[in-house]
Symmetry: C2
Subunit: 351 residues, 2 copies
């Protein structure tokens, strides 16, 4: 089953907020609800929210009562803005929405028609294409990345980058899944990924299904295992990679990469080229989302709230890992190594 | 009120497992219960468990039915072993127990008496002395450390090192408390300190009482604040410092110190000299405690367990921060700077 898909003129998603306790599919009938679902993290993971936004835009086409393509494009522009504003850090949201609008408006210019229903249909088909391509791309990334993993490796993995973070198969976790399928003996140290615990909840749940051995650790334990020589690789995804190879990813990636670097352990970011934002020179230019403090404060242990009731918190959702700490960036076009300024551009644009 | 104290022939402790939700004093009538309380973390923090073990040993004296000092010392030896085994990493446990036994057996040799009741009384008095000295020492450390803090500093603090981690006043948090009392405007970023959340539970609770402004962050957010130039100092305690200045402390200290170092932010460990173990040349020789995985897995959010029910976990309680990442070690005898091999010895032995 895909993480996000189109069925019965609705966008459907696995509700990732309630896993692993419950598995439920939720349906959305308008693009505003899809935007809210992205914001509330019903769906998360850069490639998955790209596909969700694409389907959301297709939904906006059917919501629109426009009788000309020009009116339809006005409505879709407003819907694009709503969808893009749902979460600021991952570039895939904007990438998916812009790809659809650009590609279809160009096709319409060439065709010179004003068939609004055909345009609506074209948006849906393009969303479907984005979703289908995501799966293909992930499988190609996984092949490239799996070659980096040795039999017997213990791998530290951050956040969730599996099937749930994409339409299917995953980025970094897809690499691990493929290496496992190739018969390599792998052990995964799953960091829990505070505050939303995507590691302990989602990655652990996926690894259970794949039969890959793992143990959960708290985020702050990675340094111990790296220093003790008990982990041979570090893998994570990314929400946006800038032209110089700086990696914005789930909060904690920077400290994890630092600890890997301090112990000579390679750290790989696995991303489709749609996550690479060549328009930004370096990571300090990436907008960093800050979320509701309750995600930090709401923790319970044995049914009791952990923090004092008066406590305040900060909830920074992402950090930027400077390129000097990144060993390689795995894309569908191969593994990119430094100098990233030159080699990332080649991997994305083919030149 | 002190964290651990003697009253009505019992050892009493603030139950730190249930704070900040409830404040309760628990009482112990025998040394085995004290050892269990240390193991279960009713009391925690290197200096506090040192004092708790001291009182536990005094209790063992009164438990013993010995009619000669030689028999009494046999019983106390067994009790010492039980108390020392409660937690392996903090050296203060062994330090307190050994100090009592050595000092009193020496005094007895000098006196040449065999008054068992007087010996029992001597053990209790020495335990009381250890507890009283702890508070004095902490106040002296706090004065030395507060001089390192500037008006307007934002300080990242790890674990709990306050009054609750000691008999009273605290180590690193004592420094912050004193700087606050001196009128310095301070903001504390309290990392929650997974897995047992001593930051979010205990440090936040203490800061509420002292009226010091703070915000809770998850452990993996420290790197963001350090990289963004939003924190000027990092402070933590230690469970054992070796002769070369390597610092064993609550898990996460190594990654936090790495992030401080990567951004040129000073990181200070605040410890009484009783936490310095000159018998160990470096940190790799320190035994590292691994605790029950349930402390990692038992997390709940909105009443639901976070991890899959089948999940396993690792629970490493401490890590070792190499001396190269430590800016200074604050002791009751002043702030010790590199080369730690030379200067720590001077601070501890006065030579």
């Amino acid at each position: 089953m895909r993480t996000v898909f189109w069925e019965d003129n609705q966008v459907k998603m696995i509700d990732q907020r309630i896993l692993p306790g419950r598995f439920e599919i939720v349906s959305f009938k308008d693009h505003a609800s899809v935007a809210r679902a992205i914001k509330d993290m019903v769906v998360r993971g850069a490639p998955a929210i790209g596909a969700a936004a694409a389907f959301g835009l297709a939904l906006a086409g059917y919501e629109s009562t426009a009788s000309s393509n020009s009116e339809l494009f006005d409505d879709l522009q407003a819907a694009s803005d709503t969808l893009k504003a749902a979460r600021p850090t991952a570039v895939n949201l904007a990438w998916a929405v812009d790809r659809m609008t650009t590609k279809i408006s160009l096709a319409l210019k060439v065709a010179g028609t004003d068939d609004v229903d055909a345009t609506r249909q074209a948006f849906l088909e393009e969303a479907q294409r984005i979703a289908d391509e995501d799966v293909e791309i992930n499988k190609r990334m996984a092949e490239h990345g799996a070659a980096l993993i040795n039999d017997g490796d213990t791998i530290i993995h951050h956040c969730n980058t599996g099937a749930l973070a994409t339409v299917d198969w995953g980025t970094a976790l897809g690499v691990i899944h493929t290496a496992h399928q190739q018969g390599k003996k792998i052990h995964v140290l799953v960091d829990e990924t505070r505050p939303r615990l995507q590691g302990a909840r989602l990655t652990a749940w996926e690894l259970e299904q794949y039969g890959i051995p793992y143990e959960i650790i708290s985020d702050n334990m990675s340094g111990y295992f790296l220093k003790a020589g008990k982990a041979q690789k570090v893998f994570f995804g990314a929400d946006r990679v800038t032209a110089n190879g700086d990696v914005a990813n789930k909060i904690g990636t920077y400290m994890l990469s630092l600890a890997a670097h301090d112990n000579g352990v390679p750290a790989y970011s696995v991303v489709p080229t749609s996550t690479v934002d060549l328009s930004l020179a370096h990571g300090d230019l990436i907008p960093i989302e800050e979320r509701d403090p309750e995600e930090v404060l709401g923790l319970e242990f044995h049914g009791e709230r952990v923090a004092p009731i008066e406590a305040e918190a900060r909830n920074i959702a992402f950090d930027v890992t400077p390129n000097r700490l990144i060993t390689g960036i795995v894309t569908e076009n191969g593994v990119v190594y430094p100098p990233f300024e030159v080699n990332l551009r080649k991997a994305v644009l083919g030149k």
